[in-house]
Amino acid sequence: MMANLRLYLQGIKTALATRMAYRGDFIMSMLIMLLVELGAPFITFLIYENGASFPGWTMYEVLLIQGVFLLARGIAFPFYFGIVWNTINRVRDGTFDLLLIKPKSTLFMAIVTAFDAEDLGKFFGGIMLFGLALKRVPPPGLGEWLQFSAIFLVALVTLFGFALILAGLGIIWIGNFRVYDIFFTIINFGMYPTVIFSKAVQTIITMLIPIAIMGYIPAATLLGRPAAGTCWAVLASIAFLFMSLGFWRLMQKKYTSAGG
């Protein structure tokens, strides 16, 4: 266990050292990444600025949802979500084999070699947006914070599940970056209160493709108005994780049978 943790940290050290080799680029690209994330907050701002609104939600409450979501991605993307790019690139240029040849689980090796320092921009952005929104909403009590933390952890785990599926698809659909695009589009549903969408969409993004769990549900809990069916959403997300693990294993098997 300790050995694996040390290996993971070594992987981060190595990735940082590699990134630092091009110092100039780094700040710039972190800023760019941050800018892209400001899309949903900007649209939210425009909506409320023009006199419209999402019924029952103040602007800052919506921004809180986006802040939570961005923070979750700010933790997931640097530390493990990179397995998507890592896998896609390695399968495409044949170096995925180099992971298979190591005496560790291939998934773990993919994570070790996938730390992405640039995505820390999302983390800082998330902290800022979350903090900004938190100031303008009724302060949550201890109970709310505890529940929020637990659901936030589930959100992180769900993001891992998504990474597994996207990375797995990268194994069979070689060099296909559009897969990433679709994910990027779907998560837009997570930027707004789930309740504003049609019943069908609500069910899908809460139970089937667990997006609501990554922003709306934790934020709603924190605001003291937990979403209906939170427990079911949590269970669905955990089921999702196991399913995605199984999917990755299946894809890995396919790779080792077809030789890439």
Binding site: Y22, D25, M28, S29, I32, L35, V36, G39, I43, L46, I47, E49, N50, G51, A52, S53, F54, P55, W173, N176, R178, V179, D181, I182, T185, I186, N188, F189, Y192, I196, F197, S198, V201
Partner: protein, 263 residues
């Protein structure tokens, strides 16, 4: 000319080659559109008219912007960038064809295929469901297409200019990001510019982005008068002039650079 058609045809067919690619792209477009519509539906159910805009206006805006998205000719600029980065630009300068029309034909071919495969089917369904608004008169339709054509030319020169950056810059990947952000913001890709705060609206007039598809769509939806549109067409021509001149100037400078440094 034959080369042009041949390259176009090749590019066109290439897009059909991979089943996975076609499927994924179609799914991607469908989902993108679905997300946008869901958001506007949710919003306009609660607030029926915002800034003289109805749900139907928003859907039409969305659909038209989407249908016109591929008139934004990013291709030639991107292909140019690739060739500069991997050095094959040196060969292109020796060969007896016009690089610009070569890249243009490839891009048009691919965009045409993508339009037929992904864009057209999706937005046709959307407009069938929500109802397409029609232009006020045949003259309006003509002016609309003229504006679209101008937009195509503006986008071609703009992206071609940006495409030449690798001649001087080492890493240009974030240039694409900045481009995307600028176009999205000041080209009104998701939210019409008439919703923006004053400051941003003012800035958008100094940039070419709103003149690529936004102005054409706004005119189509009847928010710009025919008379005002004449002014817009003129501005488009000015932008074309500026960008074309810039492009020619920068291209000359780039060629000089290649001659001196050998690639």
């Amino acid at each position: 000319m034959i080369l042009f058609i041949a390259l176009l045809r090749l590019s066109f067919l290439k897009t059909f080659q991979y089943r996975g690619y076609v499927f994924i792209n179609l799914m991607s477009t469908c989902i993108q559109v679905f997300v946008q519509i869901s958001l506007w539906l949710a919003l306009f159910t609660a607030n029926s008219v915002v800034q003289e805009t109805t749900l139907n206006d928003m859907i039409n805006y969305l659909a038209l912007t989407g249908l016109l998205a591929l008139t934004k000719l990013e291709g030639p600029g991107q292909l140019l960038s690739q060739r500069i980065i991997n050095g094959s630009i040196a060969i292109d300068l020796i060969r007896p064809y016009k690089l610009k029309s070569c890249l243009l034909s490839q891009s048009i071919g691919e965009n045409l295929a993508r339009f037929l495969l992904f864009v057209f089917p999706v937005y046709t369904v959307v407009l069938a469901v929500f109802g397409l608004q029609l232009p006020a008169s045949p003259l309006h339709t003509l002016v609309f297409f003229h504006a679209v054509l101008n937009g195509v030319i503006i986008s071609f020169y703009y992206f071609y200019l940006v495409g030449m950056l690798p001649f001087w810059l080492q890493s240009t990947w974030y240039v694409r990001f900045v481009n995307y952000a600028a176009f999205t913001l000041f080209g009104g890709a998701f939210v019409p510019i008439w919703f923006y705060p004053e400051v941003l609206v003012k800035i958008s007039y100094f940039l070419p982005f709103r003149y690529v598809t936004y102005e054409a769509v706004t005119f189509y939806l009847g928010r710009t008068s025919l008379v005002a549109m004449m002014g817009v067409l003129a501005t488009q021509l000015v932008w074309i002039g500026i960008l074309a001149a810039l492009e020619a100037f920068v291209w000359k400078a780039a060629q000089k650079k290649i001659m001196i440094f050998g690639g």
